[in-house]
Subunit: 343 residues, 4 copies
């Protein structure tokens, strides 16, 4: 029997049934390609309801594409992007920002995945020196790669420091829904309203087949986005099926229901796993990720039935993720497995 | 009433029902992301049946991404790619090859979209001169952007000239299925067997929701493709749904049935339209495209009920495309419209 | 005996004695690197005298670097540069613009190296279409690669068409001095005053050891040039020696004296060579280049004593260049050689 | 009176008289451009004497260009370069490697500018993971940016670790002459003989007007260098004057005489300055740099007569550099100034 990858990532889950139904419902007549269709228009309307009518919204294939396209609106090649060292753009995109934008990333160590105002300040010394890249963007991940969540005041403080030094604020919101659900806030309250300039809004990790959005809060920035998206190989021809997915996700609060379930299941898992001797939960469980250390000598046995990622090998810190479709029974089965192996 | 875009392109069609069913069938358990799943493995097996067991196969989001990733295996930044001036990589990808690879395209005028051996020879004069980009790749489109189809001997002749000068052969097969159906040949007979080094195999225009494949016939070239795909923002996380699409397309000859229907409907359209006074068919109808000139003063009226693209404005040459789901009734309705407007 | 390369190019000449003396004179005390020195300041003052006090002036190592840095001020990666097919940026820089800027060049055939307003118009059809690169820059070479010279009204007409369509005008002035000398006009009259936005001003071909300048007529464009120059690997550390060269060239009209001599010697060569049976002068001799066809069967013999470039092999069209230090005796010796070989 | 920049950097010095004489001596007849001249050939012969006859040698304008061109021979865009965080390629080239190569730099903190084998090991965890850039190059600076010098055994150990993991070794030898002089070893003993694959050999900081060399010890790597140099905007047209400079530097041991003087003067400065109360020398003085901390409240006064760089503002650590032409009297004058200000 293969080990179950259920807790390996939130992208091991499939498509939420309402989303798949929306795809099927859009599969009727011929429709103009590349986004001039009613499903895409409907989805953009939904984004406007959540993020405000000024926001420019563009759909793309994947999260790396969304991040890179968003960042290239803000940084030119001789400029630099400040981010946490765990940021997806730095650690998990195989150098896509460097290759496509040509710029440097200034990665700041962060134990919980969050940037703080002093981290920004520490990276500004080269400003005005022609030998140095010029810091121009602060990029935060919400929720972070460690499953922690920025509060609005924390984001506001980062935005304020950024603005004071002429920097723009980018948010990788691959798991923005989980953060908003965790904070019990609308999406707008942790993006547009705290000073985010450009947002990656993730759908794939929250129940879509595959679709991400770039949301640009300053329309002037977005003027040439259509060309840039095409040049970045991120323009889907049958765009209506991305529109249909997002319309389903953002209508009727599916995004929040999915995220709440994933968050709740992560908390349950942390509660149960935290009671197992030998397991130490290492990060606050604020979204749908659980980080924990486990005994090194039990790792192989643990991985026999459940596949998951070892995040920090030297510390034997592992990551477990809950998804939109994780059930209480899934969690309890995993906890029983932990208990049995570590007993 | 909106004009119908049915004949505007083969990407105005939706998803073939068998493909959508395959997506739904894959939407069961959790599966490891990024391609280590059974649906992807099955799809790759299908490719091996068609293209030979040596071929390395990679799935990506879109056609531009597939072309650029394929080309970067063959050309470095100081090298150049010879193609027809109508080639999608030159005319319709918003400079993606230049931006991502950094190389120059040498576009040769071609009335029917085909390259000929003398076109290659005409671009070789800078070889060995450090001030000039160095030609390294010949890129052909099969079927061409003009709906014409290279015969195997034509491709073989190009491959032979290329090899003699140290160049590699790339094929943009966004409509390879249409070409193979037209020639009544297996896919392999117009790719691996005639000397193609790297192939883009298109699925989206032939009934998929969205998936393209890069097929590399020389495995040594593909060694680092996985990293390059990720860096090029073309790695789908829920890869299983691309695998499921391709498994459906390449199993049970769906690819050929779809392509044959599109080709047949294009020929029917050419036959019927060609009888309408004022319409002149301008290209051989060998795949699923029909090119024709129409009277300039009737253009607006023609576009009222059917939306399609004017390909060459000065000549009022237009393009009509048939799709996998075009019916004889669709074609006859369009022909009646032509007749009525041009009468 | 090696063949003399005297007429092969204007960069086979060495350093004008006044320029070498200026370098030696600057070789005294220690000076701050990278341009904060008095020699650089003096040279910039000289540029301001010629081009107006608003012009931003930057020195770089070479002509390709100057062109690419100038162009990247005007075009982003998804935009395109319209130029003649003989333009140095297209034909002789080994793809440097594509690699560094990531953009496409739209090369228009031109028999005499000049662009005309209709050439610009012919390249504008893709504007607003997301699949196409967006034309943003017109680049002209003055004097052209064919030794022809744009008159001010010709440049003004190009600038006017460009402006009407939202394009900017770049000039590759590797031989601007030759053009100004030919027209008996100040440098400003064929650059700033006719609507050039960014200029490459060449020094190396006109008697310098090696130095080129980028002159930016709209200061807002130049704001980040210092960083871009460094990132483009074009920032000389011992900048004072570039400043000293330019100060010498632009002071006391050395630039004009050098260019006038080269132009005069080219005209003399054309006069003498044109009288040799078998030689046909193929371009107007307006600067320091002479283009001519010669009998194919005498080519090898011609090249035995003088090395020069065959420009167009099928037509056996060759290029002969005169330099700042070419003497009447050099020209007469070359003409006698032509006469002897072709007799 | 302006403060003297004498100790600010070794590029505030001018041209060594023997080098300037060599330039003048090469300024005779017309010579073929781009490197097919006798001066360039002679210089390459000199390199072969020092580095072995197999080495491929190319001259370029500047140090950043040399580093980037050397690195692009070794790393493709999805690969990564491991270096110390003080490395010029990371800290002082305004992101040129990222922009031109498209790759990521993995910068390791190092207090003395040296990499150690464990630093390499710490950066290898992402190997084989498609989401991560793939480490491919180790880049060391000799002498380091902190004026420390790698011994042959230290370099050999790095080369050995690199080789074991399939990585190549690049050396930024902007001050290689200073390192070789310090170790009293031939140039080859700390490059080719310890496993360096590609070397930047610096000339500008050691008495040239401006010229750097890329030395490639594996000829297969260098096959397309000529095109890459041109595309990187680093091909000088009047190459003979770079050749003449290098021929002068590497003939008759001028490189060693210059470096020895600079090193000796740095040691003298460290000795004298180290005796001044309030000054602490912070790095071993092994080449021509002196690092020291000075009292914060005397900094402004110190900078009044001598301009130099504050290297680490929080620690008030400064850098003083000696040059090929620094005299004992220069050093003593500077030391007297220190004494006077800090008294």
């Amino acid at each position: 029997m293969h080990p179950s990858p259920h807790f390996a990532s939130d992208n091991t889950a499939g498509i939420h049934p309402e989303v798949l139904a929306a795809i099927a419902a859009a599969n009727t007549v011929h429709a103009v390609a590349y986004g001039s269709d009613v499903w895409t228009a409907t989805a953009i309307d939904r984004f406007h309801e959540h993020f405000g009518p000024e926001a420019e919204v563009f759909f793309v294939f994947g999260g790396t594409g969304a991040n890179v396209l968003g960042l290239q609106l803000l940084a030119r090649p001789h400029e630099a992007i400040i981010c946490a060292d765990s940021a997806h753009i730095h650690a998990d995109e195989c150098g896509a920002p460097e290759r496509f934008i040509g710029c440097k990333l200034l990665a700041v160590p962060s134990r919980d995945g969050k940037l703080r105002p002093t981290d920004i300040a520490s990276q500004l010394k080269g400003i005005g020196n022609e030998h140095h890249v010029q810091p121009r963007v602060v990029s935060v991940t919400q929720a972070t790669e460690y499953g922690t969540v920025y509060r609005p005041d924390e984001l506001g403080a980062l935005a304020e420091v950024a603005r004071r030094h002429g920097l723009r604020l980018h948010m990788d919101g691959a798991r923005l829904a989980n953060a908003a659900a965790s904070l019990e806030l609308p999406l707008r309250a942790i993006t547009a309203e705290v000073g985010v300039d450009v947002l990656t809004f993730g759908g794939t990790k929250n129940g879509l087949l595959g679709a991400e959005a770039v949301v640009v809060f300053d329309p002037a920035l977005a003027r040439d986005f259509r060309y840039q998206r095409k040049q970045a190989m991120q323009l889907p021809s049958k765009m209506r099926f991305l529109g249909a997915q997002f319309a389903a996700l953002l209508g009727d609060d599916l995004w929040r229901r999915n995220a709440e379930n994933a968050n709740r299941m992560a908390r349950l898992l942390a509660d149960l796993a935290g009671q197992v001797p030998g397991v130490t939960i290492t990060q606050p469980v604020e979204a749908n990720a659980v980080f924990a250390t486990v005994p090194r000598d039990r790792m192989a046995a643990l991985l026999e039935r459940f596949f998951f990622y070892v995040w920090d090998e030297p510390r034997t810190e592992v990551r477990w993720m809950a998804s939109f479709d994780t059930t209480e029974e899934d969690v309890r089965a995993f906890a029983r497995h932990l208990q049995a192996v570590l007993a």
